[in-house]
Amino acid sequence: MELLIKNGILYDPANSVNGEEVEICIKDGKVVEKINQRKAEIIDASDMLVMPGGVDIHSHIAGPKVNAGRLLCPEDHRTRVRCAECFRNCEIKSPITRSGTGCAVPSVFTTGHIYSGMGYTTVIEPASPPLKTLHTHEELNDIPLIDKACFLLFGNNWLVMDYIKEGRIEECAAYVGWVLRSVKGYAIKIVCPGGVESWGWGGNVHSMDDHVPYFDVTPRDIVRGLCKVNQLLNLPHTIHVHTINLGTPGNYRYLIETMDCVRDLQVEDEPVIHMTHCQFNSYGGVDWRSLSSKADEVAKYVNAHNHVTIDMGQIIFTQTVTMTGDGPFEYLLHQISGNKWMNTDLEVESGGGLVPIRYNRKNYVHAVMWTIGLELALLVKDPWRVFFSTDHPNGGPFINYPKVFAWLMSKKARDKVTKRLPRLARVRSNITSIDREYDFYELAIITRSATAKALKLQNKGHLGLGADADVSIYDLNPKEVDPSVDYKQVGKALFKTAYTIKGGEIVAKKGVIKKCKSGITFWVNPQVTEELNSSIMPELTEKFRDYYTINLQNYGVPENMLIDQQAIEVKSKV
């Protein structure tokens, strides 16, 4: 099938295309140099904004914890949700699409439909416990229209902590590689290193040098150890870290300390650590009363050090469900909010929790949180190192992304919210003093190009020759519209694409799904030397028998469980 996109105004930062009228030729799902124009289907994108398909690096869309959220919150499935054409309380089945419900935790089909309608074509599930990753893959299989991958939780894994304590980093790398290969994961995710293991006893870690009970390692050891493992395995993405003391006043120090603890491991100016949803970790003050924004300090550090990338974790004033592998944090949130609480401890590997929450503009703490996410995005100078995220659904459902785009692109839009915030929140943050406004080029970077680059998905996030033909075309003329003034129009246009093209086919028009197809699941296959691999197996077999309640042979996800997949082979250094 051939497709020609004519006259569109393209923003493709990876290829330094900044708002130029370019013809895009598509054949067999790839961008090619030229096609037979008489045969091809032609899309006239005159006066339209064209970008590569969106790449969301951190969005909880599938897996045991997300499903627990759906179970816990039936109320989320009755309120504002999307139907085929407009907002209603459901998505009705159509001849080509399945039905669904939900907003903060939508059901699987609806997740794919909304994302695709917004122009996103690749979405990463950032926290899956290896033991339950078969569940994650079952859900990912069911999500249509987007390519996907999942990160695996390692920060509280008993075997990893054993290896790190004994200083056996190479064996640890072989083990991590084995897990990634067995359960088909994409990267190493660290959530509250050591803290979730302590939560197994009802405790937590509070500094980078606290000892994890019975394991004699510290969060610092775990982060450094896994960072080295990541380098040894040569994995495409860096370690993806949700650090300790998330969501507590004064925690920006731990964020900076975590980033700094792997500074010496950097080689050749490449990033070695990604700090995720930094908004939740950029708080100043000593208690909730004195909470303030320390986004400036965090941004200062990020601007001065190129071994780190971050994402925002912006919040939106709306009803949502928080869900994280950070069990102790969710308990804290339950105690603060009094809302219903779900806790899910998982043997050997991790844990997790959920608490529904409503972010309230009038609440001083929530207002400060709102300013921090935006400040981070606006104060970090290099858009290639600060990615867009709301940590869906923790900061807010992904359906609200366009609202955040408008805030980033327009000071006027921000001021409109800021002036209605509690005065204390305005005083304790810097948002009013920041004049920076993102342009479409920078927006394309933080939502597509930079995230694809960080994931090293070479065919994603750009539209150069050979790239995957994932394109989003919005009905918005970037040459005429001034986003800083017409932010409402921008937000509205970015909510529904005029066309979403996935793998060279038009899958959505005006936000309505026109064709349903499955997406690819990416996973990495790290190739470790045969000797090292076989040397860990006897010990692994023994520990597995002692630690787990399932047999080694029944662990893992066979390739035939993934409908559409692409293994990324990486040559490891060990």
């Binding site: 935790v105 339950k132 008993w158 197994g200 029944n554």
Partner: protein, 439 residues
Amino acid sequence: MECEKGLKVSEDVVCPFCGCLCDDIKVTFQDDEITRLANSCAISIAKFQHYKEDRIPSPLIRENGQSSSVSLEEAVKETSKILVNARYPLLYGWSSTSCEALKVGIELAEELGGVIDNTTTTCHGPTILGVQDVGESTCTLGEVKHRADLVVYWGSNPVHAHPRHLTRYTLTPKGKFRAARKDRVLVVIDVRKTSTARQADCFIQVEPNKDYELLSALRMAIKFEEIEQVIVAGIPKEQIEELADLLISCQFGVIFFGLGLTMSSGKERNIEAALSLVRDLNRKTKFNIMPMRGHFNVTGANKVTTWQTGFPYAVDLTKGYPSYNPGATTALDILNRGECDAVLIVASDPLAHAPKTAVQNLLKIPVITIDPRISLTSLIAKVAIPTALVGIEAEGVAYRMDGIPKILKKITNPPAGFVSDVEVLKMILKEVRKQKGAS
């Protein structure tokens, strides 16, 4: 593994019986006969050894009280005709089959505009309602094995229903921090002295239907509030306070509860109280709670329905989108009121278990069963389609009671002409679409 001639050994087989999904079963075949089973419990042995018995020989259609054998295609056609002509079809069962089958089932319910419900409705439905109200602090069974020094069974009798639960996960296994039985305290709360209670360090005999009172008293006692009654639920106040002390003095406690709590008077209110007790206990120590799920994939049935529709059971798809209203859209209530006009039952036997009015109404309408074995329901069914046994003759994913997914194995071939229920349901879905397109 092929050894001697005709001898075949399958290792690490997952047992498709209860929510424990033990995955260390070793099955030895001699010429298609199971000759040895290792690591199996009594129930599992029965399931494996008698897997060939009580099977429906071929698809059956019953007319005027007479069953006649038909081909699978004919049975599928007849099934589809019944379903397409029904105005309010009910698709029920799903807990003793694979997740793959349920996925097709949900698509079929959506296509038909019917209700899909699983057996949760008759067992842990109240648990789900309780969780939706107050949340749940839970964990996997491995956490219990390694950490728990206090194990409470409330209204459940694992020695009979989940025979390896105590030995494999909770009471006697060797964990990292708990080496043996002596490191753990077992408390059993039940209305009678069950076999599990005989192993307990502390047995509390609660008066029938008084669980809510006892839970409320315990919630007070752990907060050191005064209980004004001398005896609550048949138990002296002092004993309740002792139990409360035991609960808050442990390092890692866990409560397992069964139908004794969900299906006695109070239902979801009992569960809410139990979940709240555990939530409150987390202020004092570390505590978790877990329902003892019965059918091997009832957990999976809830999970799949939740991720595909947003709701765990009792999903009404008549409006073209999922809606959920337990009490209105639950299978038993629909049957009790006689609302549905056709029922498709997959791997369940409601005729044997449902209340009288539901059964009477079931007898008035066309019933289709998709089940490997003869059941009471299959005997009255208009169409009965036999299938391969999941976990023995067919593969599929199932979820353990704590949500850990496992792949059930195919260890032998089904009888000639038998296919899995996934295949049968796919055929029905295709035929339904064809018939709908034609009409």
